[in-house]
Amino acid sequence: MATSTRVTGHLDNPTASGSHRGALAVLQDWLTTVDHKKIGLMYIGYALVFLLIAGFQALLMRVQLLVPNNNFVSPEVFNRLFTMHGTTMVFFVGMPILFGFGNYLVPLMIGARDMAFPRLNAFSFWISAFGGFLLYFSYFAGSGLYGAGTAPDVGWFAYAPLTSRVFSPGHSTDYWTLSIFLSGIGSIGTALNIVATTLCMRCPGMKLNRMPLLVWLYLVVACLVFVTISPLTAAQIMLCLDRYLGAHFFDTQAGGSAVLWMHFFWIFGHPEVYILVMPAFAFANEIIPVFSRKAIFGYPAMVAASVCIGFISLSVWAHHMFTVGMGPGPNAFFTFATMVIAVPTGIKIFNWLATLWGGNIHFTTPMIFSIGFLFQFLIAGLTGVMLAVSPFDWQLGNSYFVVAHFHYVLVGGILFMIFAAFYYWYPKMTGRMLSERLGKWHFWLFVIGFHLTFDFMHVPGLLGMPRRIYTYEADRGWAIWNLIVSSGAVFQAAATLLFAYNLVHSYFKGEIAGPDPWDAWTLEWSTSSPPPSYNFAVTPTVDSRRPLWDRKHPEETDAQYE
């Protein structure tokens, strides 16, 4: 760091001597930290552990469905597997990994010292982490101290009345409820922090219309969390009252309504998809321009489309309930609203394509993952529009077609962008590059595995295979398709292990990254890698959307054109 000034040199000294401390001191440092970067990394690490666990559960399910009339696991275990897989992936992989990147990147990108409320930030992380711990503790304590433990087996959306005491005795469902309740509190705390940071902690000159699009997307996501996670929290309180105090919210015998739970759950459940996917959009907004060597196309349209998606996503939830029989009015409304949301999403796809158009595209690992994301997310969106047509949904609701559709979004869209984000920001977080060679292997293996699994998963759905079935008869014509689907899982598992190896190996042996390995334009690349605990020795000042571009090209700054 040739240009490090006397100020930073002085500030760096205390941290330099910190590397000789004992393991206990390091542990205490991480346990008590309020630094947004450390909390971000803890979120990411914790999510990766759960990613491996929930991925392993998926593998077990695929082994069970590999051939007809299989008995690899028992039906009870199978129910627990799909419940835990879904719950873990949504609440303890998706949310924390996205909040982790948000925690790490938002303050750096807006030139701030830390989040607005650092202690709240630490609280939110630990309460979420405790939620995840509680969910898995159910394996040991689900039936109380005297019986053998069991994990929840009510499905990730836990429809009433299956969750009532009569049908779900023991404590497994309570563990499910409480863990989601706790992680919800953590999510609301972090979202509050992101909004306050974005609105109140920007460095001078960082007007709202100059913020990196990632920060804009996280602002929209955080606002969505308030109106999305809170209803789920309310519904979990009601379920707790039902199970512990004998209330009748979802007790159909006393006049309660099972459909009300469906509404409350999906009022959370559908916007949740957008909470998970918009950070993926955010990563794409940063990565695609840098490796196309062009500024993002249509910045205002991207912001408007994101806000639009946020609003529309609040009015589409009941497309999960077409098969309940809501009547023609609601069916028509939710079909329409669901189709409308494809419009702002389409605007985004076209803006990314326009950013690529005529660009000097560099096919680095983050970029090829992003391009994979563009294609796969488009297909996922198209099957989404198909399912939005309520008569089509009556035919295919709760079939493997639906499973294939939402895994296309979650894996083909979100997970691909999460991988891209790892390859892109890992140098910033650790100071070392991830291996590009292993990265290419990871990408191609994962692409092959993904398409084998999820392209072919649509077919048994069309042939009538319902989701969540334990096994199937040989004469249904589903066997060959399930065989292909399960074989794809092997490729994905291998790719994920390769990725995990890359993460660990590059941490010790990777090429030194330097502060700005990608020649990028946002503020996080202006500080060293990894950034010092104070982020910026001098508070930066910005004049445009690409402050580092301005600095590197003083003869032609963005500020002249914006």
């Binding site: 607005a116 306050a196 609105l199 308030f226 109106v227 006049g255 309660g256 700005d516 202006s526």
Partner: protein, 198 residues
């Protein structure tokens, strides 16, 4: 590019951003509102759907006095903040004490109402859908009142100990916004439970 790129530092005139305390409280209020909306929707959805008695008309009385107390406490807390902004600590103590007292009266009358309902009318959370939704909605609000009273009481203790001064005016304002929110929610709960629901 392997060297650190330093971003130019030059002063920008008049760079002001909103207070993070106020923004944080606004966010909390949005999130809490969503929770209340779900409980209110459940209440409205289940009006008249109880399979057994007692019904709201038989057992509920309009809590006029406690409502007046709670709503007036919004005014007193406003004056407490106003007094602190102008460094009038004695006035702040007076207004804060008044707020805590009025909020305390509200909670006490809710407690008395619940006592009557449970012991004289036999209505509990498991009696019927009315009991389920009534205790959960009113209880959710009451728990927010209690949280608000704790924060205001803490501020009052600090003021009595002489630790509160003008610099804390914004923090007290953040608490007061929460208190206004709790009062506003009561207007909705009152309308739904005691007017529409009866």
């Amino acid at each position: 590019m392997t060297t650190t790129v330093a971003v130019p530092h030059h002063p920008v005139e008049s760079w002001t951003q909103p207070s993070r305390g106020l923004v944080g409280m606004a966010c909390l209020i949005v999130a809490e509102s969503a929770i209340f909306i779900i409980f209110v929707v459940a209440y409205i959805f289940y009006i008249g759907k109880s399979l057994t008695g007692p019904t709201p008309r038989e057992v509920l009385d309009l809590p006029i006095f406690s409502t007046v107390c709670l709503l007036s406490s919004s005014i007193t807390v406003h004056y407490a903040v106003h007094a602190l902004q102008h460094s009038r600590i004695r006035a702040t103590i007076g207004w804060l004490a008044g707020t805590v007292l009025l909020g305390g009266i509200f909670i006490a009358s809710t407690a008395r109402e619940w006592y009557e309902l449970i012991y004289h009318h036999g209505l509990t959370v498991r009696t019927n859908l009315f009991g389920t939704t009534f205790y959960s909605l009113v209880g959710l609000h009451a728990s927010h009142v209690i949280a608000g009273l704790m924060m205001l009481g803490l501020a009052l203790l600090f003021a009595l100990a002489g630790k509160l001064n003008q610099h804390h005016a914004e923090r007290l304002e953040v608490v007061s916004i929460y208190w206004h929110f709790v009062d506003a929610v009561w207007v909705i709960v009152f309308t739904v439970v005691y007017v529409l629901g009866r």
